[in-house]
């Protein structure tokens, strides 16, 4: 998804489960895009997110004007899934030549914890059968860095790499968007995600 066509609007869909930090990741990504001169629109639906629901953040950007903040089905250039089942849930948003980054991590919903359903086996293989998929183990990387919560910024690093965005000072943008004592670990997380491929 090299950003070769400067005036095209690119669409990135972040999907995950409430509490995984998709909103912060989306905020940092949008801030970076804005600072490097893109028109950016971002949309979130998070009404029930704190209660274990599925959450999405839409980001659209272009050197021209962006109108809709909402990605159309079949038009996402990149889906960034913080949880693997969520990648499949929203795969109808993926463009024909779109790509998926998926965190190899499972969060069981209530039907699964209650034993009514099982967490589906083979999600990654099923995704790969449908699209070009990059798998990342962001939770492990974050734990190695000493703070499991920076998993979201690890994924962000990988997503930024995939979009081919260059010349953006992500370090300072991260510093502006996280609490001072967590700046270093978040910057390390971003780098680890960026370099993990």
């Amino acid at each position: 998804m090299k950003n070769d066509c400067e005036n095209k609007t690119l669409s990135v869909l972040l999907v995950g489960v409430g509490g995984q930090g998709t909103i912060l990741a989306g905020k940092i990504m949008s801030a970076g895009l804005e600072q490097s001169g893109y028109d950016v629109k971002m949309s979130e639906i998070h009404g029930m997110s704190q209660r274990g629901g599925s959450v999405t953040t839409h980001i659209r950007f272009s050197k021209d004007k962006v109108y809709s903040p909402v990605i159309e089905k079949g038009k996402a250039d990149l889906i960034v899934a913080f949880e693997k089942m969520e990648a499949m849930r929203y795969i109808d948003y993926l463009a024909k030549d779109g790509k998926i980054i998926v965190n190899d991590f499972e969060i069981p919903g209530i039907p699964i914890t209650m034993g009514d359903r099982e967490y589906p086996k083979g999600v990654l293989e099923a995704l790969k059968a449908q699209a070009e998929v990059t798998v990342i183990n962001a939770n492990n990387i974050a734990e190695e860095l000493g703070n499991p919560k920076v998993m979201n910024v690890v994924i962000l690093g990988a997503a930024v790499k995939k979009t081919g965005l260059e010349g953006i000072d992500w370090q300072s943008i991260i510093a502006e968007n996280v609490k001072p004592r967590f700046i270093d670990v978040n910057i390390a997380a971003f780098k680890a995600g960026y370099d993990c491929e």
Binding site: K41, Q50, V70, K73, K75, M88, I91
Partner: protein, 597 residues
């Protein structure tokens, strides 16, 4: 000028600030909540949470009549609560500017209905603006104050979820210093006895007649002529969706000042068109105007020229939906493989103090549960299935009272109505409902789930939480004292995580024919605990439950619906990172296989 990204809600707050506004009030409600939360950062604007939307509106009216610019915000159903003052302040007018935001919910992401509050502008004869992005949120809110003062009227700003919760670039300006106007007594204007109101009524018509002309030259009603035979008329976020689909291949009328509608502009742009697409979410508000002007034969709105359905009558009119309706085919896309997708319904959090209450209510076969609006509405869902009906804020008690009386007319029903609502909802409009129960000899049992905060909308302070919007300490209104003062004699205060207390108290309440109130007092697990919370609930969320080797895998504990417990290799497993040690599962386990540490 340096631009910055803001959500629509942040931008509305910014616009209120830049307009030199002095006072603001709101009751939280998705998608409007963050407007006041952001306004609280601007100390120049005195902002507060009101107990309900009607109070917020009335407070703002008082501020505006008193001479200071004032603002109120609410979600769409909130304006129903505040409709009474809204309709009449349209007649009295104001002294300093009064702007009201209604945040509508096409798609019902977090709401019980999808009402179109543009109808309120028309019904109350109040001018209305509809921003389509964050910059317009700032610009239109500021203009709304000018308009309000120029035409002696409140002004309604109508936004939708996608405007509220989407970010786009904005340019910021300094705050205008607007002096507070002198208050002069003017009973003929402000006292709404019929003799006065009839005179004000004629003023309202004159005002709207002038605006009907003015609106055709408004800077917010914009025609773009792309020399096309296709015309798009759209307002709010729908304009953006239209641009995605039609690009520069159509002429546009973007309506930002939408009540009164700019009929001359609509007529002008429709005349030369072969096809007219009206893009608006919810009702046929603009579409009806286009039909009234006689353009039905080339119109595509909710209905086409033949009267057949065209654009959907409900839900969001996103670009893919528009494209599908216009081209007749969906965007090509992959289909999710259903074998790999399990639903993820919202659930009570691990440690939620509502869990044991609904777990027990769900097991009682002799109760009908009258619900309310809040996180606890999720008690309707499996595994609890513990709610029969609900309607709107505060209705659990009053509807519950009516239902009990109806059920009692048929002795075969043998059901006791239990009304459940939260602390913030009780303050909002449950108090008046409880007055009715006592006054008119109702007999329903009410449970007030006091989790010490307004939970569903993301932890806003309320009259019982001890703090104001800006974080100052405030008087704590005592729910128990209020309930007793209203006249309820049987009042119980219990710990909702104590399952035995929940059952015993409910059973005791059921044995009495009188109305009673059970207050369950325990903080929301997501709440940032105050010093008082820490003093009152020293053990809260400080322990973990673990499963020991006595577990036989009977699944009793997982049936309490806690996201921290799951079955792993035939035995219960409790996720340490999620569990906060509420102990509800522990009390359910009959084999002492769960311990708390």
């Amino acid at each position: 000028m340096k631009k910055t990204l803001m959500t629509g809600n942040e931008a509305i707050a910014r616009g209120v600030y830049e307009a030199g506004t002095h006072f603001a009030a709101a009751y939280p409600g998705t998608p409007s909540t963050e407007i006041l939360e952001n306004l609280a950062h601007y100390t120049e604007v005195n902002s507060e949470w009101a107990p309900n939307e009607k109070v917020a509106m009335e407070y703002a009216i008082g501020c505006a009549v008193g001479g200071a610019r004032a603002f109120a915000a609410m979600k769409h159903v909130g304006l129903n609560v505040a409709a009474d003052p809204f309709f009449t302040v349209s007649y009295t007018g104001i002294n300093a500017g009064l702007v009201v935001v209604t945040a509508d919910e096409p798609g019902q992401h977090s709401s019980q209905n999808e009402q179109d509050n543009r109808n309120y502008a028309r019904a109350a004869k109040v001018p209305m603006l509809e921003p389509s992005d964050s910059q317009e949120c700032i610009d239109m809110v500021k203009y709304a104050f000018t308009l309000s003062e120029e035409y002696d009227t409140p002004v309604l700003v109508r936004v939708t979820t996608r405007v509220c919760h989407s970010k786009s670039l904005v340019a910021l300006s300094d705050r205008a210093e607007v002096p507070v106007k002198l208050y002069k007594k003017d009973a003929a204007k402000y006292v709404t006895v019929p003799a006065n109101a009839r005179i004000r009524r004629t003023y309202v018509e004159k005002r709207m007649d002038i605006l009907k002309k003015q609106v055709n030259t408004s800077e917010f009603n914009i025609i773009t002529d792309n020399n096309s035979k296709t015309t798009i008329i759209a307002s709010g976020m729908c304009f953006n969706y239209a641009k995605e689909v039609f690009g520069n291949d159509a002429n546009y009328l973007k309506i930002g000042f939408s009540y009164p509608l700019p009929m001359e502009l609509i007529d002008g742009i429709c005349k030369s068109a072969d096809k007219i697409y009206v893009l608006e979410e919810n009702d046929c508000y603009i579409e009806e105007a286009v039909r009234m002007l006689g353009y039905s034969s080339k119109l595509f709105g909710k209905y086409n020229a033949q009267g057949d359905a065209f654009f959907p009558a409900y839900g969001e009119l996103t670009a893919d939906v528009v494209r599908m309706c216009v081209t007749g085919s969906e965007n090509a896309s992959r289909k999710p493989n259903a074998d790999f997708v399990v639903p993820r319904p919202p659930a009570f959090c691990a440690g939620c103090p509502h869990r044991a209450v609904f777990y027990e209510l769900g097991k009682m076969k002799d109760v009908v549960v009258s619900g309310d609006i809040g996180c606890y509405t999720l008690g309707f869902a499996p595994p609890y299935n513990a709610m029969d009906f609900n309607c709107c804020m505060g209705a659990s008690i009053s509807s519950g009272s009516g239902m009990q009386k109806a059920l009692d007319l048929n002795p075969e029903n043998k059901k006791r109505v239990v009304s459940v609502l939260g602390d913030s909802t009780f303050f909002h409009s449950g108090i008046t409902s409880l007055l009715d129960v006592v006054y008119n000899k109702g007999s329903n049992i009410t449970i007030i789930l006091d989790n010490r905060i307004t939970g569903m909308t993301g932890h806003q302070q309320n009259p019982g939480s001890g703090f104001t919007l800006s974080g100052e300490s405030a008087h704590i209104s005592d729910i128990e004292a209020i309930v007793r003062a209203i006249g309820i004699e049987d009042v119980y205060v219990i710990d909702p995580n104590d399952r035995k207390a929940v059952v015993d108290t409910l059973n005791k309440a059921k044995t009495s024919p009188k109305a009673s109130v059970i207050i369950t007092k325990y903080p929301c697990v997501l709440k940032k605990l105050s010093a008082l919370d820490n003093e009152q609930f020293p053990e809260a969320f400080k322990s973990k439950c673990i499963v020991n080797d006595k577990c036989v895998g009977c699944k009793m504990c997982v049936k309490c619906g806690c996201p921290a417990i799951m079955m792993v290799e035939g035995k219960a497993f409790i996720d340490k990172g999620t569990c906060v040690g509420c102990g509800v599962c522990m009390s359910i386990c009959k084999l002492n296989a769960i311990e708390r540490r």
